[in-house]
Amino acid sequence: MIHSTLHKIYSTLKDQRILLSFHGLFSQQIMVEYGRILKERNELDENKRTILFSIFVELTENILRYSTERVASQSDSRGVGIIVVSETDETYAISSGNLVETDQARKLVSYCESLNKLDRDALKSLYKEKRREARKEGAKGAGLGLIEMTRRSDRPIICSQKPLEDSGSFLSISIEIEKSEVS
């Protein structure tokens, strides 16, 4: 039973300055409610708050749409995963984790590496180019989320994957933003 370790979990969350975390079956409603918590971070100016919220939405939508861990009885826009928002004195970090096919995980890791090599102008051009492309048949999203997050992130985005024995790979993505404008 978790009872005996509850204080340890609480202390860990507190020590790591975790503002918000959710693990389990994500729904649109959960995204809305957790997003509301981020929108209330008053120490941020509205521009930064909008960026923080947008990264949270894009990462959560990835779990909703692409997590391979799903609950059969639920509508198809629900996936299982984890979202953690933490802070340091200078930054916020939003991390997402979920299961995906190993091939897909490898592709995403190298895609993120390639995005990290692009400068702001190149990312902007790539974003516009992808937005102009016709929607792929059956695609659940616009394929713009990772590009957008790389554009808004103040540090390279971190993407890694861990192959699991019997259920694909665990994909983790972390994005960091500065609390105040970097001049």
Partner: protein, 128 residues
């Protein structure tokens, strides 16, 4: 012509058409669970507005969005493509008004990036 009057929800904006000023206003936040279900009817409405209305139709697309996700961005692009085409083919009087809150640079930039991509008159309005 069909009325267009969609009330906002937590994840979808309000969509209203004012016949007198020929203004289609989309306002609020946009990150729908199913972006196609939400935006396809709006795109269809715009097409019909011009096909049914003849060559004298004008339209002001008034966008006042506090936040939109990347899937919405793609649909806004499609809506503006449609308007650009109509603007060119029918010489229809069309313009886009992009409203953003002063200081929220990201929302201004989003508008600017649409303006760069289309040959449509764009007007930027900053509110306090």
């Amino acid at each position: 012509m069909k009325q267009l009057d969609i009330k906002p929800t937590d994840t979808t904006p309000s969509v209203e058409f004012d016949l007198e000023s020929s203004t289609l206003t989309i306002a609020g936040e946009s990150f729908p669970e199913n972006v196609t279900t939400f935006y396809d009817p709006i795109l269809k409405w715009i097409k019909e507005y011009f096909t049914d209305g003849g060559n004298n139709r004008k339209l002001v697309l008034n966008l006042n969005l506090k936040y939109f996700n990347t899937s919405t961005s793609k649909y806004l692009f499609d809506i503006m493509s449609e308007l650009e085409e109509t603007h060119k083919d029918r010489h229809a009087d069309i313009r886009v008004v992009w409203c953003y809150k002063k200081g929220v640079e990201i929302m201004y930039e989003n508008g600017e990036e649409f303006a760069e991509d289309f040959e449509l008159p764009f007007e930027f309005v900053a509110y306090e």
